[in-house]
């Protein structure tokens, strides 16, 4: 496209530059405030401070880099505005001259035509001939002037094109974008190794600004590739000691790193806590908005719609609040151990998994898979149940961890919602692929650890499908508690590929597990009754289990499968420890 020397508004470009300078001031103020927060935190000590310091220290340098990029852009815009202003001034001069020349040429042509007629007449004089020659000379001069002005205009068009190319190149430069000009174009064509090296070299604020396809490609990498790449960035690392490049990745792409198979669990934990905190902050805002909207709704239809929105916002808020609370809920352990948010998916519903114990180092790890009606709103409840298993194992000195895996959308509670999804296999089928993904990921980074799955209610349906479809997981013990039934496609314990399979079935109030199995379609089998290859776990005795839940409410007099004192808890702890 031909450049137009008169196009654009240099005054507006200058104004744009000033607005960028104002933005710099705001960013400086923000960075100063963050630095003040870091200073204010001087008397804060402990592991929580270490995590705070690792991230807060990245903000001010990032803000300075962004300010520097604005500086570079301001320079480019300043040069462009000056050049466009000069070109426009020159263009206006040329256009004015061209207009004058065109008018003079027209008048001269008219006069010349008349003079030529006069000079050609029978009564023409010498003066007539001289006049015609003079006017012809004037016309020739004007034609030369027009030609010169056209050439000047063409040169100005080229000058304008040069100015535009310079501005365009300047705004695409590394100094302005913080990344090589053609990065976004070439990243997609890079080999995995080159792509990962390029990603690791980016500062966090630049990495966070990348196109989503960068995150998508990273998320699709094989666990082995990711593991080698991560270790190459400064070793496997720990929550306390790791490289700046690893920190940058965690803070810039928390939603990716938090669920990236091959990344160590301490890093996934840090990333997921960032993501979960952001999601929780957003859910808090959304709940306030929904409450406000409900309060202002007028008319039955509007109120009904606002109420649905409010219920949905409240549900999401409760889920994210309880999941975040998993970091601090009180657990009765013999020895306090790290807790790790090992996955978090901010979807509808939000899903995640929280470990009690260090998944990077524990000798044995058990995944606790919940059943009907479970959601992130129950995270702390499952963590407390899991902690009972862990505490029992700690009493004999075992180094274990237990993961409350709320990583699939469980069927809703049939009794309270009327939804009969628990009787089918659709939820289990969908959940099985998610559970498999997380178990495969664990195996990829911890081939040495003992891996167990403790599945409650419908969780045993989901787990049975998972284990049957993934024979190489190397599961040591598969334990079912109050199973809602094993799909007929998994006819015996051998089909789960676990080294050992155990089943506990109590005489539950309300016969919940029994009903789930009896009315299941396709019909599911009871792993605690004639299921070939299963060892039955005791639920009877003085402290017998009498409800379907994993734990009973305090003071209720009831006991769930993993309540302290039950024979089931002792047996589950024993068969899931190295």
């Amino acid at each position: 496209m031909t450049a137009d020397p008169l196009a654009g508004d240099p005054a507006a470009v200058t104004k744009l530059s000033r607005a960028l300078a104002d933005r710099q001031d705001d960013l400086r103020t923000g960075a100063t405030t963050v630095a003040r927060a870091a200073d204010d935190a001087a008397d804060w000590e402990g592991a929580s401070k270490d995590r705070f310091s690792a991230t807060v220290g990245t903000i001010a340098p990032a803000a300075q880099r962004i300010i520097g990029r604005l500086d570079a852009a301001i320079d480019v815009l300043g040069t462009y505005a000056d050049e466009v202003r000069q070109i426009q001034d020159e263009a206006e001069r040329i256009r004015a001259s061209q207009l004058t020349t065109a008018m003079d040429s027209a008048l001269t042509a008219l006069s010349l035509s008349t003079a030529k007629l006069a000079a050609a007449a029978k009564d023409a004089t010498d003066a007539d001939a001289r006049q015609a020659r003079r006017l012809q000379s004037d016309a020739d001069d004007l034609a030369a002037t027009a030609s010169r002005l056209d050439a000047e205009w063409d040169a100005l068009v080229r000058r304008r094109a040069t100015a535009e190319r310079a501005a365009s190149a300047g705004l695409s430069d590394t100094e302005v974008l913080g990344v090589a000009p053609s990065y976004s174009g070439t990243l997609g064509r890079m080999s995995d190794a080159d792509f990962l090296a390029a990603v690791a070299a980016m500062p966090p604020e630049v990495l966070a600004a990348q196109d989503p396809s960068v995150a998508d490609r990273l998320a699709g990498m094989p666990a082995e590739t990711v593991q080698a790449w991560w270790d190459g960035l400064g070793g496997r690392g720990t929550a306390g000691e790791h490289s700046a490049a690893q920190d940058a990745l965690i803070t810039a792409l928390p939603a990716v790193i938090g669920n990236l198979n091959g990344v160590p669990y301490w890093a996934r934990d840090q990333a997921n806590r960032l993501s979960a905190q952001r999601a929780y902050a957003q859910a808090s805002g959304a709940l306030r908005d929904a409450q406000d909207k409900y309060g202002k709704a007028v008319g039955r239809a509007a109120q009904a719609a606002a109420q649905r929105e409010l219920i949905s916002a409240q549900e999401r808020y409760d889920q994210l609040k309880n999941f975040s609370a998993g970091a601090r809920t009180q657990l009765d352990l013999v020895d306090q151990v790290p807790r790790q948010m090992i996955t978090f998916h901010d979807g509808a519903p939000p899903l995640g998994a929280f470990s009690v114990g260090d998944l990077d180092t524990a000798d044995g790890v058990s995944f606790l898979v919940p059943g009907m009606g479970s959601s992130l709103a129950d995270t702390t409840q499952y963590m407390r149940a899991g902690a009972n298993v862990l505490a029992t194992q700690q009493q004999v000195g075992a180094d274990t961890a237990i993961v409350s895996w709320i990583g699939y959308e469980a069927p809703p509670n049939a009794a309270s919602t009327g939804n009969l999804g628990v009787l089918g296999e659709t939820y289990a089928d969908r959940g099985a692929s998610k559970l498999a993904s997380d178990l495969v990921a664990f195996r990829a980074v911890r081939p040495d650890a003992q891996l167990n799955v403790i599945a409650h209610s419908y969780g045993s349906t989901t787990t049975a499908l998972t284990l049957a479809r993934n024979p190489d997981l190397g599961v040591h013990s598969f334990v079912t508690l109050g199973s809602a039934g094993i799909p007929s496609s998994v006819p015996d314990a051998a089909a789960t590929h676990a080294d050992h399979m155990y089943a506990a079935q109590a005489a539950e109030k309300g016969d919940i597990a029994y009903i789930g199995r009896k009315y299941s379609f396709p019909h599911r089998l009871d792993p605690a009754d004639g299921f070939d290859g299963v060892t039955r776990i005791d639920t009877t005795g003085t402290h017998r289990v009498n409800i379907h839940g994993l734990t009973a409410g305090q003071g209720s007099g009831d006991r769930g499968y993993l309540d302290i004192g039950t024979p089931t808890l002792s047996d589950v702890a024993e068969v899931t420890q190295p």
Binding site: A3, A7, G8, D9, P10, A12, V13, L16, A19, L20, R23, D26, L27, T29, G30, A31, T33, V34, R36, A37, D40, A41, D43, W44, E45, G46, S48, K49, D50, F52, I59, A62, A63, I66, R69, A73, Y80, E164, R165, A167, S168, L171, S172, L177, V179, P204, E205, V206, A208, A209, Q210, A252, L274, Q277, R278, A281, S324, A327, R328, P338
Partner: protein, 93 residues
Amino acid sequence: MADLLVSYSTLDGVYNALESATKTFEGASMPADGGAFGADDVTGAFATFRTAQERSAAWLGDTSRTLGQYAHDTKSLVQDADDGLAGKAEGAG
């Protein structure tokens, strides 16, 4: 694991400062060119730059908010622990 040592006022101060920083980062507007360049190539390059700037600053805001929330959560943790200890002390009494 190191012991936690911190006062409520410290965590409140950190939270307030980071909330303020978050608002500042989020309020740092990135102007639009409004056709000032008179050239499609320059307009396109500026749009790319503008997007990168907005995303980078959004990261600053997000990270500040997350850290503020973290300080707030840490205070809740300390309060929960205090309440738990108080409850045990009452029970012992």
